[in-house]
Subunit: 359 residues, 2 copies
Amino acid sequence: MSEVSGLDLSERKKKILRAVIEMYVQNAEPVGSKAVAQWAGLDVSSATIRNDMADLEEQGYLEQPHTSAGRIPSPKGYRLYVNELMGDYKLSIQETERINEALKGKMQALDQVIDEAGRVVAKLTQYPAFALTAPPERVTIRRFDLLLVEERSFIAVAMTDTNTVRNNLFHLDREVSQSQLQMLGTLLNTGFTGLSLDELEKELERVARHADPDAFQLIDLTVRFGMEVLEELAKKPVHTAGIANLLDHPEYQSLERAQPLMSFLSDADPAALPAKLTAEDGANIVIGPENVSEALKDSSVVMASYDLGAGMKGLIGVVGPTRMDYAKISARLAYVAKGLSQIMGQAALPPEHTKEGTT
Amino acid sequence: MSEVSGLDLSERKKKILRAVIEMYVQNAEPVGSKAVAQWAGLDVSSATIRNDMADLEEQGYLEQPHTSAGRIPSPKGYRLYVNELMGDYKLSIQETERINEALKGKMQALDQVIDEAGRVVAKLTQYPAFALTAPPERVTIRRFDLLLVEERSFIAVAMTDTNTVRNNLFHLDREVSQSQLQMLGTLLNTGFTGLSLDELEKELERVARHADPDAFQLIDLTVRFGMEVLEELAKKPVHTAGIANLLDHPEYQSLERAQPLMSFLSDADPAALPAKLTAEDGANIVIGPENVSEALKDSSVVMASYDLGAGMKGLIGVVGPTRMDYAKISARLAYVAKGLSQIMGQAALPPEHTKEGTT
DNA sequence: TTTTAGCACTCCATTTCTCTGAGTGCTAAA
DNA sequence: TTTAGCACTCAGAGAAATGGAGTGCTAAAA
């Protein structure tokens, strides 16, 4: 259904379709021929419009809720609109400023950035938002550090080749010395860096056989921590924000409609939602039945991807009724995505003393 | 309204009140005298019950939605029930196992634990859950570490006296050496540890005046990072989960009721919600109008606090209609809280090689 | 004095009915 | 090909009718 070309439509019909969509987006009420006739740029009578609208319905671009009502756009209609008819929405200065303001000073830990991005978008669009990251195929630990805290405890720091840094405090049942830790650090950095999860496991087994048990305990703890870090990066939880926003829109006034979608968004985990995660840059629109997931069949998803640097990609998007102001929403999303790319990319590639948020 | 004593009530009236509450909790429908009469342990006719119920209403324990309907409990009635009438709810083995299962292996970064705890509780109770931490009054940085990554970048690690460890990767526009970092580390650990936020700011200013500019740049970066960590710990964001659960309950079928509460929970920030954060252990129940916040005036909050060790406390709770199975919910909450205390306390106090999750 | 049966009464919830008006499709003229 | 005119359709709002659960009161029974 994505290959909708409006070649079989006269200019006037396209104008009518666009008018219907834009009016319907505004008012959420079926649009009648008379209303369209008064739309700017159309100097024909309502009767003419009626004929054209009947044609548009026959061709599947419009639908009629019931016999004596106006028309509403079908998913196919929206698709044509999005592909060909929709004008570029220009963000106002206020809007860009508001977005910049919201993003500023928010680059803390990566997770929090993702989360925060979702929140910003939810507030900005008044729709529920989601955000997730797409990790690169193969992440490895680039480097380990061990810091002595007290005789019986130390901090392990692991840094991945995506520049994520994690740490963990360990308590031991016996004492260790600074020099011991230093030695182990060297060992870890020569033997356990640049390896994938399974490789780490294997290497750990190999070392277990011919290593001093005391030393191995520390190695084991640290390497397993490193493995956890890799695991955590590998899975990509979906963050959601502003679920309650859904209720602000008339299509979700009835609970039967709102509830399944809300539950779906709450149980966000399944990355099963936006099939095309590695979508190209710019905004991407999935309309109603185009969605794979059953729960989204009569809602739309607008999303934009951004670059986290170091081979990681991220995706933010919103979910709403098929009746959405696609132009405005996608413009805003794209702007936020661009902002995030800049912020995060800047931090990942070593420029001037910038901070990179990875706690 | 919290000082409700049932001294002025006969045993039978208490039984009736209890019956009304428990039936109402089950069915969400006003309870009539006939239904109460059939309740176990009451061998009187419905007429007698009617008289007693009229008395109970006069005394404010029951309410009548309209003249010819049954009775529902008033907040005062619930209060008496919770204080005196409610039996202990025994968790079944399945329930405890389910909770243990859910908590197991979930102790990662502190934030994530909080978040996860909320999710677990939301799933467990079918109500929206919230979770937050109460930091101790004064947290300071106990120690700094600086790790050289490449010539132009280094990692700063800060550890607080609550055993939280954070780190940050910095990129510089010039080179630094291992020995330089080492020197700075010593300087930081002597001059900038054990200080509160303002003290750090002041000390920073003081040092700025008579320090080498190049060195000061590094000090500034690191100390400001430390300050961010303290700030982050000081504010206590409220995590929420399962907001959509609200819609499963009949009292929130009408959007006018559901929406304000959902928005309130979404904008979770105001710790303004549960006034008594430092609540004693065990579960704590706030019924309807007892709530300070306007949005909660006709909902109830059940919460339990847990111990994070190292002077930090946490709070988890659920929000639901005043018609809640307080016995069951509070038992479950208390159990989860106890579990969390164990897990977290264990990690914070230095026992045998346990891991403490703070990334 | 307390409990019970009986009965008239109240009032909400639900269903049924009617009415209205926006919007359509069709036909015939321009 | 476009337009005016007209009969027709149908959802939605309101009014009226119906049913029934539950009450309060009174008078008898325990």
